[in-house]
């Protein structure tokens, strides 16, 4: 994991001092609300339904145990004792007091954390695959590139007042995309060209919200060293030509669409030609140096614990189910990647208490070299668990509420905070997630259904990624009443797609039944090896419509 040096530490301290001064001036009336707004957003501070909301940055989802413990203490000292893992791999606090925020930021800085650029019209936290560095099929570890982008984008003097927020995601796996890069403003797929050189396929102009789009490719191969200068060219074109007259048309996706991807690419290339060889061009040494922070932990030379696990699974059905669903293959023999799902029915997806944060920290120290990763599915990953200790881990996590063996199933729901916390919501979303989880409590049935992404947002801002859920649920407002619109066929993976709206919206109490009917159609129509999305793609939306509105 990246470790601050004196430069990072100094800038973090200066940032805290700056925000302390800005907060003081805001409270003293020297800064108007309008003037303070972008400043506080760039320090993670929203003003929400109940209180300010603070979004703390977790660069590319990586957290150390001391950072988790510090988060726990912060939620206790300044908030109500719980926090929320978000779809952007960040952490949110729902109830801090404005006056306390500079102190919270100071406490965070002590453990090399911050809330820089987690909101506002600037370059946000760069996200990536939560399995980076531990999976067998990645081309190279994407995290050094994420950290390079993080540093370049932090306090970038030219790009702090963009037309709109700006998100970058990086993926390095050839087969899967857990970072949803094609629904980001810039999605970088790490590739090798025919000559074996490392580089990026660049997608620009994806995004959700009001006008959801899958980002087209604007450059098939960008050499590794050109990463930052090319990003700078894209951002400069966007900063200069992105629409500022209409907030809803200000995202880069609208510009890319207006110019066509080819037209946009041409403008970027023209800009890039001027700055390609500027001092911002990366050097092999800089990349090597950054890679030095993401080296392997001290793995032991182990064999796969195949026999042991077989025996333990045979003796314990719950363990067996958990292994089948919440485990992924590790690149090192004898190790496993474990996902702790924060999706226990009755707990809002992604919510953790201060105690649970400390428990996760302990688990990280005990089982995974002191580190965890946050996923955009609002779960937590222990990436380096010895196979011969999995049973012990499972026994430890089950009473903590992290043993729910439902990863990637219908009840592993992505869900935004919705009307319970968010001032922009049209409808609540947490109770809908809970009602659906209750309707599908039978684990065997759930497993039989296979992988299904069910995503819920409380309004069209799409914080819960509803457009790219295989099943998407969107809260809508009709004359002051809450309703829910359903879409089908979305995906955030390599085959990214925006879901199609099924038809008129539903009352909240009908939602579990509506989902059940959709599932019934799938069960009736699927062939043996088909996942939900495959069946949907084969048969189209009509049979679902007919059943649901019958």
């Amino acid at each position: 994991m990246y470790v601050y040096d004196e430069h990072d530490r100094q800038m973090a301290a200066e940032r805290v001092a700056q925000f302390r001064d800005q907060t003081r001036r805001a409270l003293a009336g020297e800064l108007s609300e309008e003037e303070f707004l972008p400043l506080r957003l760039q320090n993670g501070l929203y003003v929400q339904r109940h209180a300010p909301m603070l979004r703390i940055c977790v660069p590319y989802g990586m957290l150390r145990s001391d950072q988790l413990r510090r988060l726990a203490r912060i939620t206790r000292d300044y908030d109500k004792g719980y926090a929320h893992f978000t779809t952007r791999q960040n952490v949110q606090l729902n109830w801090p007091a404005l006056e306390d925020v500079p102190d919270i930021l100071a406490d965070l800085a002590e453990v090399e954390m911050h809330a820089n650029q987690t909101s506002g019209n600037c370059i946000r936290n760069t996200t990536t695959d939560q399995f980076s560095g531990v999976q067998a099929d990645e081309i190279t570890d994407p995290r050094p590139y994420c950290e390079i982008i993080r540093q370049w984008s932090t306090f970038h003097p030219e790009f702090a007042f963009l037309p709109r927020k700006f998100k970058v995601a990086v993926n390095a796996s050839e087969k899967t995309d857990r970072a949803a890069i094609r629904i980001h403003d810039i999605g970088l797929q790490i590739v090798r060209n025919d000559a074996g050189e490392l580089g990026f396929r660049v997608h620009v102009g994806g995004g959700l919200g009001r006008t959801p789009m899958v980002g087209p490719v604007i450059r098939e191969f960008l050499p590794e060293l050109d990463l930052l200068t090319y990003l700078e060219a894209v951002l400069r074109v966007y900063n200069r030509y992105g629409r500022r007259d209409n907030k809803f048309k200000a995202r880069i996706k609208i510009l890319v669409k207006a110019l066509t991807p080819e037209g946009f690419a041409e403008k970027v290339e023209a800009e890039w030609a001027h700055i390609k060889d500027s001092p911002t061009r990366l050097t092999p040494g800089a990349i090597e140096r950054m890679k030095g922070f993401f080296t392997e932990p001290p793995y032991e030379a182990l064999d796969n614990a195949t026999d042991l696990l077989a025996r333990q699974r045979f003796e314990n059905r719950g363990f067996d189910q958990w292994l089948s669903h919440n485990l992924d293959v590790h690149k090192k023999p004898g190790y496993a990647i474990v996902t702790l799902t924060l999706k226990k029915t009755g707990t809002p997806p992604g919510d953790v208490t201060d105690q649970q944060l400390e428990q996760i920290a302990d688990l990280a120290d005990e089982f995974s070299f002191g580190e965890v990763r946050v996923t955009h599915h609002q779960n937590v990953v222990l990436a380096d668990v010895r196979q011969d200790r999995l049973l012990e881990l499972w026994e430890a996590v089950t009473p903590m509420g992290f043993g729910t063996a439902n990863l990637n199933t219908l009840t592993d729901i992505i869900c935004c905070p919705g009307g319970d916390y968010c001032a922009l919501a049209n409808a609540k979303s947490i109770p809908v997630a809970e009602a659906i989880q209750r309707r599908f409590e039978d684990l065997d049935y759930l497993y039989d259904l296979g992988n299904i992404d069910l995503n819920i947002s409380g309004c069209m801002n799409a914080c819960g990624h509803h457009h790219v859920g295989n099943i998407g649920v969107l809260g809508v407002d009709k004359k002051g009443e809450e309703f829910y619109q359903v879409s089908l066929g979305g995906s955030s993976h390599h085959d990214a797609d925006i879901g199609k709206i099924l038809g008129p919206s539903f009352a909240r109490e009908d939602m579990p039944e509506v989902i059940a009917k959709i599932i019934d159609v799938y069960v009736d129509q699927r062939t043996e090896e088909e996942e939900f999305l495959d069946t949907y793609r084969r048969i189209g939306i009509k049979p679902f419509k007919e059943r649901v509105y019958a």
Binding site: A17, E158, F161, R244
Partner: protein, 168 residues
């Protein structure tokens, strides 16, 4: 006369005035007794007339394209870039283009909705003077120009991004 802040935080006064873009049918109203910044495209349109006059500079609005005078920038003693609203960040790109692409050497001034907390970004993008919005406390400018002792990126204040400086 406005107070002008220099990049080092000191304050001075000068006489430059910003001449607004004339309405349709009106002509450019250049004061006879003060140096003036006029819209860049109008300067170009009257190039024969204005060239060599060191009491005439130009200003760009945030949607303007500095490219139109790319090869002539150093004929100008002063260029202003307007921030119509402080959240409109186009002026930062304009400044970098003027400095880094077109090699502009003379004074570059931020005008319009110029607030304290943006000063350091402006400085890093190449502005070397600032006219703060009138209601702001100029005594805080020096501090705000120096919140950060360094930056991660290369910008006009340093050629070397931090990753190069770290390389030693």
């Amino acid at each position: 006369m406005p107070d002008v802040i220099n990049a080092d935080g000191t304050v001075r006064q000068d006489e430059w005035v910003v001449v607004p873009r004339p309405e349709d049918g009106e002509s450019l109203d250049i004061p006879s007794d003060q140096p003036a910044l006029i819209p860049a495209d109008l300067w170009l349109a009257g190039y024969e007339h204005f060239t060599g006059n060191d009491r005439i500079g130009v200003w760009f609005d945030s949607h303007d394209e500095p490219e139109i005078i790319a090869d002539k920038v150093n004929e100008l003693p002063l260029i202003g870039v307007n921030f119509p609203r402080f959240v409109d960040g186009r002026g930062y790109s304009i400044a970098r283009l003027l400095r880094e692409r077109f090699g502009y050497q003379n004074e570059l001034r931020a005008i319009g909705d110029v607030l304290l907390d943006q000063l350091q970004f402006m400085k890093r993008c190449g502005f070397d003077s600032y006219v703060l919005r009138a209601d702001k406390d100029i005594s805080q400018a020096a501090k705000c120009l120096n919140f950060f002792s360094q930056g991660y990126q290369a910008a006009t204040d340093t050629d070397l991004p931090l990753f190069r400086r770290r390389a030693g």
